[in-house]
């Protein structure tokens, strides 16, 4: 989406960029803390669910950010954002579903469920440059 909206200057685009950076920063901070073992002591305790929700909160925030951008934008930007979001979500779900069945029936290595969010952004980054039409 960043490529499609490059050279942007509208208020909605600035807000979207700032909000996305804030939520992505929160998600990254929690994930880095997890990777470096900051939460190892709470494994298998009820507090682990607090961590799970803490990781999820920025994702919910990102969905709100995208909806807010659509609400604040003109019809063209709204349509492009909708296309980008639907395509990225759909491809991510399709890939993860295929991998899940691969795990169940084809001995594919296990992929953690939380990987779907980074996958979503990777797909978004790859597809957005090609989505510049509203139709």
């Amino acid at each position: 989406m960043f490529n499609a909206f490059q050279n942007s200057s509208t208020t909605a685009q600035k807000r979207y960029t700032l909000r996305t950076m804030a939520f992505m920063g929160g998600y990254t901070a929690v994930m880095v803390a997890v990777i470096f073992g900051a939460f190892d002591s709470i494994q298998n305790t009820p507090a682990a669910w607090v961590l799970a929700l803490a990781v999820t909160a920025p994702i919910v925030g990102q969905i709100w950010t995208s909806l807010a951008f659509m609400r604040e934008s003109d019809e063209f930007m709204r349509a492009v954002m909708a296309k980008q979001f639907i395509l990225s979500s759909g491809i991510s779900m399709a890939l993860f579903t295929a991998w899940g069945f691969g795990e169940s029936f084809a001995n594919a290595p296990h992929a953690e469920g939380w990987l779907i969010y980074p996958l979503f952004w990777a797909v978004m980054g790859l597809t957005a440059p090609f989505l510049k039409s509203s139709s």
Partner: protein
């Protein structure tokens, strides 16, 4: 949708940014209209028609005729 938006804009000496401000849309939206990557809603088409004081079909070619 084929249209004469770019011609009308250039006649007035406006940039895409300026036309966008007149219409209340982004520069990207104006560019998408001019390059036929976006078909305007009826509301936007009428706003453009009012701005250039022309009927909608003088600006946007009716694809069904």
């Amino acid at each position: 949708m084929k249209n004469s938006l770019k011609l009308l804009r250039v006649e007035r000496g406006w940039t895409q940014e300026q036309l966008g401000q007149e219409l209340g849309v982004s520069r990207q939206a104006v560019n998408a209209l001019e390059t036929e990557k976006h078909d305007p809603s009826l509301d936007l088409a009428y706003r453009i028609a009012v701005l250039f004081t022309r009927p909608v079909e003088d600006i946007f070619e009716n694809p069904h005729t």
